[in-house]
Assembly symmetry: C2
Homo-oligomer: 419 residues x 2
């Protein structure tokens, strides 16, 4: 994409009320637009990141047997009364609204009830199990403390999968697979090295749930990491008894601030019971379905990546989620530079490389460099009078201090050494 055609521009300042570093950088870069606290629109560059995260997550969910669908945002009172979660006294994050012709509806703050209600139509026999439907969907939560940029939203985009299994054994088999899928997701998203499977509070049906916590000062949670075992314990269950159960010792645990980027939860029959979601087993008996939930907020994940992978100049996107792999800069106003930069743009595109081309006239080299650092594409490629003397371009990774001159004839091989 040519930057002259991208309508967004970088800004020197974020809104004064924006204190979260992730939102500050994302607003300055023109990735997002703040509508109000906890509500953001995704501008073209930001949407590209969300879509790459979505592709990574979808691929891992499909690999463990997930089937994608899309539930409605509007939720019906009758359905939520079954599980006793309609009442605002019970759930304090509902957004409710009224129908013109009478009656109240809610906006999805989570999906257990919607899924249990739908699946009740389709699950009758053991032959119908297991089932792993999932959703990418906009979720609404009436948060009073929407203050962490895109990490705690009143409106956010998430993935939620629900597992429907015959019994605990079938459930556990999938639950273990989902742990690996989640690890793969955070690895692919570039934050695997600072993300830990974390034991957190469970419920009536399991002693623990599992969170994926990423170390960052911007996090709202405190966790205790055992580096050698690669696992952590959330403060909420950090007791002598729990540590003994998990075979962990306070001596080897290190305290960190962290943000929860995903969670998986064994629900047992908590939701199948109120919905009377039963199946007939091989012996002809009627049995409640065993459920689990598996969530990831894509905005929060994007914000976490920015918190973890940025420096004082801007964002440092991992290749897997960068809006573009290459930021191509044409420096100076000479016709020759413009011509060669355009040829380089065409060559990169023809090689299937995603490239943002800063073809803007009347913008200084300093401004273009500063924009490239702020926007944070993995590779910066500069075509200038100087680079043309060597019949090439200067290639610099966002993580490198200095670039290297690469002849045009070697450029694609330099970027795709294994192709």
């Amino acid at each position: 994409m040519k930057q002259s055609q991208l309508f967004t521009k970088t800004r020197k300042e974020a809104p004064a009320d924006e204190t979260a570093r992730n939102a500050e950088l994302l607003i300055k870069g023109g990735f997002i637009h703040k509508e109000m606290a906890g509500v953001y629109s995704f501008l073209p560059l930001g949407l590209r990141v969300i879509e790459k995260l979505e592709t990574i997550i979808r691929s891992e969910m499909n690999a463990i047997g997930g089937t994608e669908m899309r539930t409605s945002a509007i939720q019906v009172k009758d359905v939520w009364e079954k599980s006793n979660r309609w009442d605002d006294e019970v759930v304090d994050v509902w957004f409710k609204t009224s129908l013109k012709n009478g009656g109240e509806v809610g906006l999805s703050f989570t999906n257990e009830e919607a899924y249990s209600n739908i699946m009740k139509q389709y699950i009758h026999s053991y032959k119908d199990l297991p089932a792993y439907p999932y959703d990418f969907k906009t979720i609404f939560r009436n948060e009073t403390r929407a203050k962490s940029g895109i990490m705690r939203g009143r409106e956010f985009y998430w993935k939620a999968l629900y597992s429907f299994s015959k019994d605990d054994a079938q459930h556990q088999e999938f639950y273990e697979k989902s742990k690996q899928a989640y690890k793969n997701i955070f690895q692919k998203a570039g934050i695997g090295h600072v993300t830990y499977l974390t034991f957190a509070s469970g419920g009536s049906f399991s002693p623990f749930s599992h969170e994926f916590q990423t170390i960052t000062g911007a996090g709202e949670d405190t966790i205790y990491i055992d580096e050698s075992k690669g696992i952590a314990v959330n403060q909420e269950v950090y007791t002598d008894e729990v540590l003994a159960t998990l075979g962990l010792s306070k001596d080897t645990l290190v305290e960190h601030r962290a943000v929860e980027v995903g969670n998986i939860f064994s629900l047992g029959t908590k939701f199948s019971a109120p919905f009377d979601l039963k199946y007939t087993n091989e012996s002809g008996e009627s049995v409640l379905v065993t459920m689990g939930s598996y969530g990831i907020g894509l905005g929060r994940l994007m914000g976490t990546i920015v918190e973890v992978l940025s420096d004082d100049k801007g964002i440092i996107w991992p290749e897997s989620v960068a809006p573009f792999r290459v930021h191509l800069l044409a420096l100076g106003e000479s016709e020759n530079v413009a011509k060669e930069a355009q040829a380089t743009y065409d060559m990169l595109k023809d090689a299937g490389i995603e490239v943002l081309f800063d073809d803007r006239g009347g913008v200084s080299a300093g401004e273009k460099f500063a924009d490239a650092d702020l926007l944070g594409m993995p590779y910066r490629i500069v075509v200038s009078e100087r680079s043309l003397k060597d019949n090439g371009a200067e290639v610099k990774k966002r993580t490198e201090e200095r670039g290297t001159n690469v002849p045009f004839t070697d450029l694609i091989a330099h970027l795709n050494p294994n192709a």
Copy 2:
């Protein structure tokens, strides 16, 4: 995908309150789930149709210079007060809801204000124009007559593009391009032959808007078609004066019921004025931006396809939007059939052909045939003891009465004759 792994099943009956044919067929087929009147969840098969429509529309929008982004559902009072569309007395389809910590917000029923507000940050000079941002997004409308299945929803998924141009000439150039893009979309979606560019009421800034109306008895509009010119006039502007302006005569116009599947609208400065959305032109003067809007509802489009392309047995999906191109049926319980059907499934998948494989045991041939007709994939391929006698499968298009036996060795070439 194997049908044994698809958790949805066909149903004999749609909900008693569902009178619209599109929703009736889509619910029976397990494409959608009715949450309440005007609110539907998309089950796996239905989501696949929506995604194919989205891909068709995205490709046409990008081809005319569109840039995708995603605005929030939650809308802020201040922004809508500028254009005087916050008040429920002015706009009667708002869903409003309250923040926990005070204040009211609305849910997007359209996008002019959100876009004008965002673009005001980025449009300053003639160099910033034109710009063509667009959105795929869930839209909320507090309809009292949500009764046409997925064709008039309280919640629906749409595409809206807004054009920002320097002047009317630049606007008209894009407006004409958008007409062609819309024609391409409906052609690709399989309803081009019954869809007409229709003159409808304009506004202060243009004598007409343009709708794309598809002939169907399920439509809520009445249009008058001039078949030879390939255009139509909406009843709302069907006057002698308008016909004279358009060079049309009542003698050649034929009345039809139709549904509006898309519309394009010249907005002039209706929204740029209240937002003071101006740019500095080449002469240094400050000028209001000229806008246009371009919408398509994807659920309505899907519903229209079903209304137009179905028979008494079920849906007849066009290849371009079918959830799967091929429905492969294994008939009978013999091991040999199961083995050969599985081999056929693998062969089709390896050739990149999307296939739904009815591998279910204990289901009669009659039921499998009825399901295939209801679900409406373009090709039905049957592997049975009989077809195996000729070492092949029976291939039948959904639109054909009878199938043809095709040897396994010719199957891919039969489906992809030009490959």
